[in-house]
Point group: D2
């Protein structure tokens, strides 16, 4: 079993771009420092909302380098080493390790078709050939395979996995994962990526959360975590409800879908709040403009963030 444990609020950090799509370091510092000041327990770079699949290897290297420098050991740095299959993932992992990541986050293989045998061996090879704790990233909406709780706990027992970040939306599997992980001696740090029901995940026994919305409002997620730790579920629920009002930044836009509307809303909110200089998006995605920006501004105003 892995010695690396992590819990609490571990936001997946959004990437700030200049107009020319290069990394906007000043904005990146603003964002990271604000979240650490708010009391988050770790930061996850190069996740799905951290533009990992849009970034060249050079861009990934730059993001990790700056992240490690800015964070400067204040909290653990988790890095997504997300790519299609094992050899490519390993290359990203060696780079993350060299640049100072504290842990890596790995999805099931994707694009090529396979089954649980390939998934299990993928995690085993990655864990064996890297010297960092490995988190499984369960995100079927992107990789089109679900990681079953039985396999996760088995790989926790083997010492292959240090934890699981669950963005699957499969609440029954997640409950079993929490419950059976506890019965098994808690080999895994279990984190939820379901930012709109984090209070429920904590009630289920999750160790922490990876909420994208914490880029915009980290304070509420930190308060919710403290309330949950104290067993004050009424407060935890109220904090989540307030965050969910903010989450309407996702559904006040029109004519966009997927990444453009999701991460696009994060970046637009951060720009409106003065944290990011632009809301530039990676190609081929277009930034939000016009009425979509105004609608997000209204949500921020009504949530007291502007």
């Amino acid at each position: 079993m892995s010695d690396f444990k992590i819990g609490g609020v571990v936001p997946p950090v959004v990437v700030s771009e200049r107009e020319d799509h290069s990394l906007d370091i000043a904005s990146f510092e603003n964002l990271i420092n604000r979240m650490i000041d708010a009391g988050v327990d770790g930061l996850f770079f190069l996740g799905s909302s951290g533009e990992v699949v849009f970034s060249t290897d050079a861009m990934r290297e730059r993001v990790i380098t700056e992240a490690v420098r800015i964070v400067n050991h204040r909290v653990p740095v988790l890095v997504g080493i997300i790519d299609t299959e094992t050899e490519r993932v390993l290359e990203h992992g060696r780079m993350a390790q060299k640049l100072g990541a504290d842990a890596v986050v790995v999805t099931a293989p994707f694009y090529a078709l396979g089954g649980l045998t390939e998934i299990a061996d993928h995690f085993r090879i990655v864990a064996r050939e890297l010297d960092l704790p490995v988190f499984a990233y369960d995100i079927p909406v992107c990789v089109h395979t679900k990681l079953p709780w039985k396999l996760m706990i088995e790989l926790g027992h083997e010492g292959v996995l240090a934890g699981v970040k669950d963005s699957s939306g499969d609440d029954i599997n997640f409950r079993y994962l929490c419950q059976e992980n506890a019965k098994a001696g808690h080999p895994l740090s279990v984190l939820t990526g379901h930012e709109m029901v984090v209070d429920c995940a904590y009630l289920c026994g999750a160790d922490g959360s990876v909420p994208g919305l914490a880029n915009v409002e980290p304070y509420g997620y930190v308060r919710m975590w403290k309330a949950a730790q104290a067993g004050d579920w009424a407060t935890a629920k109220l904090e989540q409800d307030k965050l969910n009002e903010l989450s309407h930044i996702f559904d006040v836009t029109t004519g966009v879908q997927g990444y453009a509307g999701g991460v696009g809303a994060f970046k637009t909110a951060l720009q409106l709040m003065g944290i990011f200089e632009t809301n530039q998006m990676p190609r081929p995605v277009k930034r939000l403009t016009g009425e979509n920006v105004e609608n997000i501004r209204e949500v921020l105003v009504s949530c007291g963030l502007l």
Copy 2:
């Protein structure tokens, strides 16, 4: 509209590995030369069955370099520059261009969620920033998005696309693609990847095919293409029927699925036929062994290939 036209049989070339997963060049030469001698009209490297998503950038470079050297202009070399999003695809494209590819093959973006807007802009950016003909690769089973015929023809008209390789299994969309492409002045070279109904695709008006099974039996596909060209559909159908008997190499294996059973069957057949030295597979996929190999041998014997 693009000047680059291609038709006939353009097999997606399977990659030969040594035990240590490095490229087995002698076997690769055997395979390529045998297909060219059989009369194929082009070769497609680094497609889905050409291990593209399993290969590091260094391995991709090596495959293209050797492919261009071995083919030596006898037929056009198409290269898959398959990756998640635009910037990453462009890097592969620049490498393919530098190494001498004749055309590149590009899927819809994958992993991150998006829509037709992002897909269209993806192809437009790739076509604009590379100096090679671009083929759209329609493979929803891997990228989980379908490329609609209307968009394909629109991008053909714009000069963005030179053609489409359709592995979607959507036969109605494919029929419209062929029929409307003809009405529109034939801007696109339309190729089917559906190796088991190539005769039907030709009857629909397809310009050619990209059959994985041609790695094992190129002669039948070449004869089928000639029969179809001559309007001899009875012969075309008979050739396809015979090839479909060979395709049972996919369903005589047990305990494997996806890539392991599909490309694994190709490699095992090629090894049994003495064309490949091993049936080694890329990590994390395991090679076929034992009874699975024997069952494939039996199919080859019954089809007269052993």
Copy 3:
């Protein structure tokens, strides 16, 4: 093995409604007689486009009664006995048998979750307890299960199934179904429901077709069948291409989807051609109106049907 064989063109008959949703018998006669006069080889009532799932038991009884009376043994009458699970299907089957159907058409069970065991037993029970030939109706878009060719041929051998109507869009499975059915001594009459690639299905070896579009244009489908029978594939392809131009009645409408746009287009075309009195649709579906009707008219005009 079943003695009942059917081939050629077997259209799935669309139902004519009065404004009050009752059966419009005069229009129904127009439609049926026109198709029989055109030379179709059978008629399939209460299929997916024959409003089977919208019809009460009383309405189903009325449709079968009138169908049997109007057809009057000129061609075989196939009847869909489509419902969720076995006991309900059997009740429809007993009614169809009593009213004079020549064969029944049965889907996989739907709504409740199950597997191949339940599907196979479902067909076996239905075949055992009815005295009519049973056709399996493979329509995963409606029932969300695919019927594999191996099971179909096994049930043909058992004498459970007389045939298969394939509306699955899985062209590889269909090819195997045709090819392995031939090798197995042809226990099944194999019909395709894929109205836009019927020529290809015939080339694959299909015994016939069940094209919805034949409600609007039966003559082309009859000519295509004759051409295919004569081995004149160029003509078969030309007939299919012409029919596909007509099929644009499905994609010239806006603001509607599914049944409203599909069967709605059939009924609107039939009304415009004077065969149906109204284009009324079953609740909760609304009929096509306004510009959607005009766009369909234009397609009919350009195809020479108006």
Copy 4:
């Protein structure tokens, strides 16, 4: 807005069959009386696990008649009037109304393809033509359409819907449904069917639950509801955790799937506990036997139910 409100624990009642598949009334009484004695707040008959889609109209009539008689106004009787499209649903609804149901439960239309327009009109017609409160049943795994929270609240406002039973597993949509329903003046009674995370649903603000597992263990669900009402979330979580141990009756079986393994496990547990006389299943589903029964027995023993 509807006057009918319901909350708390409303189990979906499993149907007891004799060997010949007729209704075993004595067992049915055992089951119903035990749940009412345990303190449930309502009972839902002819739901997905209540064999609705397996039952002929005559069987449905018998189930409702006996249910109304046995319950005898001790708790409200909700009845599923589940069928493919509007006219068929209305017929079931008129029967349920005549036989004394207190409310009806209606899914989105299924089998035929459509969109939100048809779904909304379906609920509107059903509500208009019946004199009973209508609950929307959101079960995409069976009907393959998801009911979005915005539409549900809109139909609540219109007075069309009295509530929603959510078995969708979409926890984000469910959270919005609860939260926006509260903001909108609570037009809907919101019930969760997700029996393994009912504590979370209550924390989200759900009015009640429809847990199939309460057929086997109603007492824990009643205790959980009381704890949640009292704001004692630690106890609610503990009760849910204990129930989840019982839920392993679903995953200790082998060789079965779907209804056979799910409702089959309920019936087998009820037989082992002496509440049901048989674990007979509706055709074409087979009952659990042999080792599967023994494995379920072990779960019951370890949970203290045997």
